[in-house]
């Protein structure tokens, strides 16, 4: 597995090299330059055509905004803005594909869609308070004018050049119909002047082609300045990230501290107390052994019992900290073992090419464990399906039960805890649980896999 990944990376590097090589040659190779110019010229009108949806959306946005006062606007604004974002997204993709310029999304995360008017209003507020929404509107206003002009100029100039070339054939009918007979500064009134115009047509056409790449670049620059995140937005995003990290770090520390306290208490109340009792019992047995051998024997038997119980307690404790199968075999087999212990009928399918870092592995293991416990406790399910797989740098687990559904992360403390457990590692939990079931929990943790030995099967 590692070897194939490495090969992929190496290939990428080579690809990049050849691309740069090609770009380097573009300037020198006239044929390539011409191709680039023609492509840029033809892309102009496509960008110009964006003006139509832009103006429609601008109108829609204006109408929706006007209706805000009536309240209906709150229902209209979010879909309109989402449509605008869709169009802006298209422009961003075109910038990436045609000019190789990456424009990142500037939007702040939207709150989850809640049903009813309140949800719509909350979404609407979030949208209106996002600076990027207003910059999108500015783009809708500016781009159909400035962008349209910039986009259409090269093709217009080329067309004018072509017109010049065709003038020897065309000037007569144009003049007959009383049309404009000027070409540049030449007044075309006979075939001689038409021939001169045709001569000028060639450089005009070439000029149109020559400015086309520049115009495309300018258009992209305009789009980037309006559709990309501003420095302030970037700073805000970084701040949000830091805030999120601080929060998850605090959560992680709190959870860890609570866990340590629990372990300390369990040790203190359980195994430690038992060992003390065993010591005392042994002391008493020592004294009794000659005077009352029967009682001594009884005490020794009790002590042996106590030692077994202490062992059991320690074992359970260790299982709660880091399950031995997980350490031995990794996530897939640990989850399989977990499912064998579950009172429900659980099927597991796993497709993991390697093992992640131990903390990530452990987080997902306990998350799945909690999901199974939840299913057994609350869902009334009889069958649970667990899937584990790795995709695009993310470790994913899906737990589906055939229970009654209706699980809600905003109420269940179990699901909240699960969410927090994953958040520490930048992971997310998605819950789909309509009333009547089935419930599907999807957990995702970004991580890398290392090819260690994982599963025996």
């Amino acid at each position: 597995m590692t070897s194939s990944i490495t090969t992929g990376v190496v290939n990428n590097v080579q690809n990049t090299d050849t691309t740069t090589g090609r770009t380097g040659r573009t300037g020198r190779d006239p044929l390539r330059a011409l191709g680039n110019a023609v492509r840029s010229t033809l892309r102009g009108p496509v960008l110009a055509a964006l003006a139509v949806p832009q103006l429609l959306l601008l109108t829609a946005a204006t109408v929706a905004a006007c209706l805000l006062g009536l309240g209906v606007g709150a229902l209209l604004v979010p879909p309109t803005v989402l449509a605008i974002r869709g169009l802006a997204g298209l422009r961003r993709r075109l910038a990436a594909r045609w000019s190789g310029v990456e424009i990142r999304d500037p939007y702040q995360p939207l709150p989850d869609a809640e049903p009813g008017f309140r949800g719509a209003w909350k979404r609407c507020q979030a949208i209106l308070s996002d600076q990027a929404s207003w910059r999108d509107l500015l783009w809708l206003l500016v781009d159909p004018v400035v962008g349209f002009t910039v986009a259409i100029i090269p093709l217009s100039v080329v067309a004018y050049g072509v017109l010049g070339l065709l003038l020897p054939q065309l000037w007569q009918p144009i003049a007959d119909h009383g049309g404009n007979t000027w070409y540049l500064w030449i007044h075309v009134t006979d075939s001689g002047a038409a021939g001169t115009a045709a001569l000028f047509g060639v450089p005009v056409m070439l000029a149109g082609l020559a400015i086309a790449p520049g115009a495309l670049r300018a258009h992209t620059a305009l789009a980037k300045s309006l559709l990309g995140p501003t420095a302030r937005a970037e700073a805000l995003a970084a701040e949000r990230k830091v805030a999120h990290l601080t929060e998850t770090r605090r959560d992680a520390l709190t959870t860890q501290a609570a866990e340590l306290r629990r372990i300390e208490r369990d040790l203190h109340d359980g195994a430690q107390a038992r060992l003390v009792a065993m010591g005392m019992n042994l002391g008493v047995a020592e004294r009794l052994v000659e005077r009352d051998p029967e009682a001594a024997k009884q005490l020794l038997a009790e002590t042996r019992q106590a030692s077994a119980s202490a062992l059991n307690e320690l074992r359970d404790l260790v299982r709660g900290i880091h399950p031995p199968v997980l350490a031995d075999r990794g996530l897939a087999d640990a989850v399989r073992a977990l499912c064998m212990d579950s009172p429900l009928n659980v099927t597991v399918s796993a497709d993991l090419p390697g093992r992640p870092e131990a903390p990530v592995e452990s987080a997902l293991y306990f998350a799945v464990s909690e999901a199974l416990t939840n299913a057994a406790k609350h869902s009334g399910a009889s069958h649970v399906d667990v899937q584990l797989w790795y995709e695009n740098g993310t470790l994913k687990a899906q737990v589906t039960d055939d229970g009654t559904g209706g699980a809600d992360p905003s109420r269940g403390t179990g699901l909240r805890g699960l969410e927090r457990r994953l958040a520490t590692f930048d992971g997310v939990l998605a819950v789909r649980s309509p009333l009547g079931g089935p419930t599907t929990l999807t957990m995702e943790l970004p991580c890398e896999l290392y090819s260690r030995r994982t599963s025996s099967s």
């Binding site: 299982r319 031995p324 199968v325 350490a327 064998m340 212990d341």
Partner: protein, 217 residues
């Protein structure tokens, strides 16, 4: 009786050697790593192997893997696996070949030397001995496996004791019934689990496997 012993903790290894010798076993090899264990099993071909699950160099399930590998090369090699923890998954893997001569016990069972040694003998003789804790876990989870639902509580109890590796006589003594009644129960169990008559011991392993929800093919 010749024993190969694998245990990485010196104190436990020493104690086990002394205990086994006290009960007239001959410890032909006492090793402390997975590769050494496999080597010892293949060259010594002992009457029984007593193996710790977790061994160096990986400190994961090296011992279990070595035991499974040895049984692949020497079918039916009697192995008693000791572990700090019992896992159904490991029990299933050990029993998967259906040939018996397998024991899987918690390490604490050595607290009772008589019973422990008896288990070693049983495994060496081709029997199956699962730790009561594995069985307890299984019993908690029964009801999800169809064929086992057909068993009466009494028959299930017999099957549990069978899984612990007890003989009909021992089961009769434990349940305070006659050996003939036990035989009747076992016959019913075999019938209900769809195990056609063949050599008695082999069917006992298969019944335990069904108990563990392994589909023996």
């Amino acid at each position: 009786m010749r024993v190969v012993l694998a245990e990485d903790l010196f104190l436990l290894r020493d104690g086990l050697i002394r205990m086994l010798q006290a009960y007239d076993f001959e410890v032909v090899a006492a090793v402390d790593t997975g590769p050494d264990l496999l080597q010892a099993l293949l060259t010594e071909r002992p009457d029984v192997a007593v193996v710790d699950v977790r061994l160096p160099p990986t400190f994961t399930d090296e011992g279990l893997q070595a035991a499974l590998e040895a049984r692949r090369q020497i079918p039916g090699l009697p192995v008693l696996v000791l572990s700090q923890y019992v896992e159904q998954l490991y029990a299933k893997e050990l029993l998967a070949d259906g040939s018996g001569a397998i024991g899987y016990l918690l390490k604490d069972r050595v607290f009772d030397p008589d019973q422990f040694v008896e288990t070693v003998h049983r495994v060496a003789a081709g029997g199956t001995a699962l730790d009561p804790q594995v069985i307890a876990m299984l019993v908690n989870n029964t009801g999800r496996s169809k064929p086992l639902e057909r068993l009466t509580p009494r028959e299930r109890e017999v099957l549990e004791l069978m899984a612990e590796g007890r003989s009909n006589g021992a089961i009769a003594e434990r349940m305070v019934i006659t050996e003939r009644a036990v035989k009747k129960h076992t016959a019913n169990i075999f019938l209900k689990l769809d195990l056609p008559p063949s050599e008695e011991d082999h069917r006992r392993v298969l019944a335990v496997l069904a108990f563990l929800e392994v589909a023996p093919s």
